[in-house]
Each structure stands twice: as structure tokens, then as C-alpha cells.
């Protein structure tokens, strides 16, 4: 349940949303491509009103990538199949073009040696990198990350964060819901702290982590760090 959210994300900005579970951070993220249906208010992405009744949602979603906590890879397809499905079905690329682009996307996440492997044969970190490549292959204007490292064993978190950092350096617009302070601190331009459906506090990571203004933010960060 979200209340009175007013949020702007700039192009090429990396925004991290933190907050306790149930704070509405995932709901907010999922509203941005309307996997979650907002009751009221409006959402504009690159000038298109997502909440307008005549908006072609499938058209808008092409430009908004999403990476999921539980990866949600298609288990019956290879890594390359996962990455190329939308290229073929949505962008109507030829098989050859789709595979070229899919291979490039998998190369970017360091998995060009796993093209023909099914998700079941990949580690969690590799699966999530395929998930990122699937989003990336569509050449989106924005990628949403819904707790991308929460389902990973600690030793696999690094490889996913590394890929996200590289995307950041290339200027990808990113909205990241995460408990991963490392990424927020090093790579985010701005951090938002949410609690009980409202944005409590926002600012650059140095300020939000270094000198949080609100008591609730302080409490949350203290619990998270200890």
C-alpha cells in the first residue's frame, strides 16, 4: 500500500530504494511497468502516461527492462532462448539478428560460454546474469531491479553487483530495490528510504547513510548493519 508517492527519476540516474519488508518498495517498483496496478495517481515513463487507458502497455514495456528476485528464467529454454524470446516475439527480429543481439547481451554479462545451457544447470549468480541479459537485449531505456541479489548465496552476490556496476558506468537508467548497501553506497546517485508506504527520506548515498535525518532511517540502517 503506497501513499502519496511523488518521485522523479532522471535519465541516466541510478536510484536505489531501501526500506523494511512491507514498506512498499517492491510495490512501487512494480508500478513502474504496471505489473502492479495503481489505484490512483499517474506514472509517466519517457513522456508516456502508463496509467492512461489507451496506452499500449506492451509497447511501453519494451523499453523498461525488469530483473526479478527469483530470476524467473524460462526453465524450458536455453540461456540464449531466454534472452532472444522477446527479441523475436516483440521486436520481430529474424532468428539470426536475435541470436546476434542475444549473444552480445550474454557476452556483456560474461556468459557467452553458456549460450546453450538451461537455467537449471546454472548457478544462482549466473541465472541472475542471464536475467539481466534478457532485460538488456531489448535495449531498454530503463531497467528495474527487484531485489536482484536477495535470493543469492553471499558468495554469488558479487558477480551480479559487478554487472550492475558496469551498466551503471555505461549510463543505464536504473531503479534498484535492494538490501544490498554495497551497491547503493558505491553506484547509486540517490537513495530513497521507504517505510509504511511513504518515502521517508531521500538523498545521495553519502548523506543518507552517513547522516540520516530521520529517526526511522537511523533505526533501519542500524538494524541492517548489525
Amino acid at each position: 500500500m503506497l501513499k502519496g508517492i511523488d518521485l522523479q527519476v532522471q535519465a541516466r540516474e541510478a536510484l536505489t530504494i531501501i526500506g523494511p519488508s512491507g514498506s512498499g518498495k517492491s510495490t512501487l517498483l512494480r508500478c513502474l511497468n504496471r505489473l502492479e496496478e495503481p489505484d490512483a495517481g499517474s506514472i509517466h515513463v519517457d513522456g508516456v502516461d502508463l496509467t492512461a487507458p489507451k496506452t499500449d502497455l506492451n509497447r511501453v514495456r519494451r523499453d523498461i527492462g525488469m530483473v526479478f528476485q527469483s530470476f524467473n528464467l524460462y526453465p524450458h529454454m536455453t540461456a540464449l532462448g531466454n534472452v532472444t524470446l522477446a527479441l523475436r516475439r516483440v521486436l520481430h527480429l529474424s532468428r539470426h539478428e536475435a541470436e546476434e543481439r542475444g549473444r552480445a547481451a550474454l557476452e556483456e554479462v560474461g556468459l557467452d560460454d553458456k549460450l546453450a545451457v538451461h537455467p537449471g544447470q546454472l548457478s544462482g549468480g549466473q541465472q541472475q546474469r542471464v536475467g539481466i541479459a534478457r532485460a538488456l537485449a531489448m535495449q531498454p531505456k530503463l531497467i528495474l531491479f527487484d531485489e536482484p541479489t536477495s535470493a543469492l548465496d553471499p558468495e554469488l552476490v558479487g558477480e551480479v553487483l559487478e554487472v550492475m556496476r558496469r551498466l551503471r558506468e555505461q549510463g543505464m537508467t536504473m531503479v534498484v530495490v535492494s538490501h544490498e548497501m554495497g551497491f547503493a553506497r558505491d553506484a547509486a546517485d540517490r537513495v530513497i528510504f521507504m517505510n509504511q508506504g511513504v518515502i521517508v527520506e531521500e538523498g545521495p548515498p553519502s548523506q543518507l547513510f552517513g547522516a540520516p535525518k530521520h529517526q526511522r532511517t537511523r533505526d533501519f540502517l542500524r538494524r541492517l548493519l548489525h
Binding site: 525488469m66 526479478f68 524460462y74 524450458h76 524470446l85 522477446a86
Partner: protein, 223 residues
């Protein structure tokens, strides 16, 4: 021992009725093939329709499907053959029996495919939709391949059980294996033709049972 051989495996009797029984074999075989193909395809179509979640249509579908699952196939067969002519629909006994069993298998197959569709994780829908693939594209490319994998083991069992119901068609005078075997048995005053019938069933269904194992191993869910 001699008694058993004389009454149940009497080669003279079997030889005499073999051509007749082979005719029945072809009838059973073609009916079973039609029922399996039409029933499974029909069930898949219904399950896909149900995925659109059009309320009144789904209520109607659930009601009809439940009815066909609950009523004994024999009753359906007798009704289709003897009652439908009163509303102007006269079917041959073969067509009536095939239609009845197809409807029953279709009802079960619909439920099995539907269970498969609903047990595919919601995240699969979300992942595909988030890349801009539409509802139908997601259903066809992402959901159904996984749902069908889940459906294969229960579906093959059910298909075999229902196609064995072709023997019920003897009741409405379809000249299939059991029908011919029982009249041969009466004429010869010797039940050996029934044993021959059983062997013919084995010839049809043993490969089907084996084949279903192969299908499960080949296309079933990888673990």
C-alpha cells in the same frame, strides 16, 4: 491343465474366429486413436480458452467438464446413441461411442492441462509480460510448454484408462474386439476368443503404455 487349454486357449476355436477378431481389432484400434488425438487436442483447446478467464464461459465450461468427469462413460455412450436421435442427431454406433469417449477424455484432459497452466509460477508470466510479450504470446511460448510437461504423466495414464473404455462400445453394438469375442464365445460355446481378445488388447495397449513412459522420459519435466 488340459481343461484350461481346451476352454481358454483352444487353437481350433481361435483359428476359426481369428479373421473376425482381427476386424474387431481394427475397429478398436481406430477408435482408440481417434479418442486419444481428439480428446487431448480438445482438452488443450478448452484449457487455453479457460486461461482467458471469461467468467460466464468458464462457469459453463467447469459445469460441463465436471459432468463428463462424474457420469460413467457407459451412460454417456447409451445416451448419445439412443437419446440424441430424438433431437434429430442420429450417429452410427461407432461415431456415438467415439464421440462419447472423446468428450470424457477431453473433460479430463482439460482439467489436467488447466492444473498444469495454473501451477506454472506467476513469475513466469511477469517475466514474459515485462519484456512486452502479450498475454497470448506468453501463454503459447512460456506457459504452455511448461504446463504440458507437467501434464504428461497424468495425461498418459488417463488417456490409456479412457481408451480402454472402447470395450464399452460393445453395448451399443459396435463391432469391436469385445463384442466380437463374446458372440464368438457364444457360438463356439468356448471362451477362447475372449483370451484372443485380451491378447489383441495387449497388442494395442502395451506399446501405448511403453510409449507413454518414453514420452514422459523424453518430454517430462527435467528435475
Amino acid at each position: 491343465m488340459g481343461q484350461i487349454l481346451y476352454y481358454y486357449f483352444n487353437l481350433d476355436v481361435i483359428w476359426r474366429y481369428l479373421p473376425d477378431m482381427l476386424g474387431g481389432f481394427l475397429v478398436t484400434l481406430s477408435m482408440a486413436a481417434l479418442v486419444v488425438v481428439l480428446g487431448i487436442v480438445g482438452g488443450l483447446v478448452l484449457a487455453v480458452l479457460r486461461a482467458f478467464r471469461v467468467r460466464p464461459l468458464n462457469w459453463l465450461m467447469i459445469f460441463i467438464v465436471d459432468a463428463f468427469r462424474a457420469v460413467p462413460p457407459l451412460v454417456i455412450m447409451v445416451f448419445v446413441y439412443f437419446a440424441l436421435p430424438y433431437v434429430g442427431l442420429s450417429l452410427s454406433s461407432f461415431a456415438a461411442a467415439t464421440l462419447s469417449l472423446t468428450l470424457v477424455l477431453m473433460a479430463f484432459a482439460e482439467e489436467i492441462f488447466w492444473a498444469g497452466i495454473t501451477s506454472v509460477d506467476r513469475g513466469q508470466w511477469e517475466a514474459a509480460r515485462s519484456t512486452g510479450i502479450g498475454f497470448l504470446g506468453t501463454l503459447v511460448s512460456v506457459i504452455l510448454p511448461q504446463a504440458v510437461q507437467l501434464a504428461i504423466p497424468p495425461l498418459t495414464n488417463r488417456a490409456i484408462a479412457i481408451t480402454k473404455g472402447t470395450s464399452l462400445a460393445s453395448v451399443i453394438a459396435v463391432q469391436e474386439i469385445i463384442n466380437r469375442a463374446s458372440s464368438a464365445q457364444a457360438q463356439a460355446a468356448n471362451p477362447s476368443p475372449l483370451m484372443l481378445g485380451a491378447i489383441l488388447y495387449l497388442i494395442i495397449f502395451a506399446p501405448l503404455v511403453r510409449g507413454s513412459r518414453w514420452v514422459e522420459a523424453r518430454f517430462g519435466r527435467r528435475r
